[in-house]
Point group: C2
Chain length 240, copies 2
Amino acid sequence: MTVVDNAVVEREPLKHVQVREYVRDLLGDSTPGTPAPSERELVQKFGVARMTVRQAMDALVAEGLLERIPGRGTFVAKPRNQVGRLLSYTAEMQRRGLLAESQTILARREQAGPGVARALDLTEGDAVIHWKRLRRADGSPMCVEDAYLNEVLLPGFLQSGMPTSLYHSLAMRGMRPTWAEDSVTADLPTHEEAQALEIAPGTPVLRVSRRAVAGDKVVEVSRSVYRADRFTLYVQLSDD
Amino acid sequence: MTVVDNAVVEREPLKHVQVREYVRDLLGDSTPGTPAPSERELVQKFGVARMTVRQAMDALVAEGLLERIPGRGTFVAKPRNQVGRLLSYTAEMQRRGLLAESQTILARREQAGPGVARALDLTEGDAVIHWKRLRRADGSPMCVEDAYLNEVLLPGFLQSGMPTSLYHSLAMRGMRPTWAEDSVTADLPTHEEAQALEIAPGTPVLRVSRRAVAGDKVVEVSRSVYRADRFTLYVQLSDD
DNA sequence: TAGTGGTCTAGACCACGAA
DNA sequence: TCGTGGTCTAGACCACTAA
């Protein structure tokens, strides 16, 4: 079932989409507070009804790019605090002003055991990539990450993908996680973990289990052990 | 600067709000998949333009109550996974199938010290409510919570608000937190904490600091210590 | 006073799904 | 075929802000 010659019908974008994308391009990287064109200006410019312009602007307001102030106008909004966004280890450390490094402890193809298979939505025995790394920040150990990847989704990953960031490699394959669930608890490290993290036994650590999803496919499950003296997790909660 | 007699103008709710609340009441606790009235039905019922009805429905779709299916209709949506929502301790335990109880250790009016004042957006010496509780789940200790509340926003709180849930009491005063930031780390308990939580010294705990905001006011800052053997934190991350 | 966003009307045509 | 939501029009009046 391959797409052979999906006769692409060139269709005019919907008007509210045209207006929306025009405004997005216009203000894409503007400073917060920059005024957007007024709704009536856009009505003139596109020869369109005001409700149509409002539909376009509504979308941009909903996604947080714009902010309306009655009686004054519409402006580029301050980017909201984005703690709680899905970041790679590298990006996460960058956000904290630390230099991220990784050191591979183990990287090989394996057959999924029952637990990993279930977590990755596979059947036992399917091929998975097992990748274990010691992660450093500003030179000192920060965490040990033990990850399993869905090999079916990432052919040739072990050969090509190793040197760069995991999430970057996934992005290149169109498998960048869009969504993840973490569960977090406190624990004591094993002897090996304590040694790798260069901490005394009996020093508490944070254990984070992650299940990362791209589209509707589970691409990664991992267990990480963080040095609690170096790492605090930030979470944002909203009421919805 | 007290509110003396804020002449309350009884004003007719906006039409799209009337429609929205009518539909919300109608479908409040319905099973996912229950059909909502069609837009044209609501136009008839309220004698209102279709754009007005759409504005009402848009809001309910945006907040996740409804789901539109073109050509079929509008239906009650499946509640999305709501890990990562802002829940009170009571609601959080309920979600986990546990019975929440609380035992007040300390509850009094104090003057804000420098740290608490800054966290609550107050000036040092302003009145705050200091409320420390041992929280249980299914009878056994789960966490010790040490909270500071902005007294200015909660007049008479100490007299009236104590017995019930904190978030419920805040809701009754229109100060239900809409937003919060948590920071989470692993640590060892103090002797007092270990005793209160009924755990051995040297058993790791989760420390959670929270800053809870209602509208644009900080209403609560707290530090909680959770038994890590009983409590795992769940976090959802999205890419945005 | 002029301009802004917020609300609202009374229509219209379209694509899609179900019967 | 008929009902649904999706899009769109060409106006209108309001409350608010800034000059």
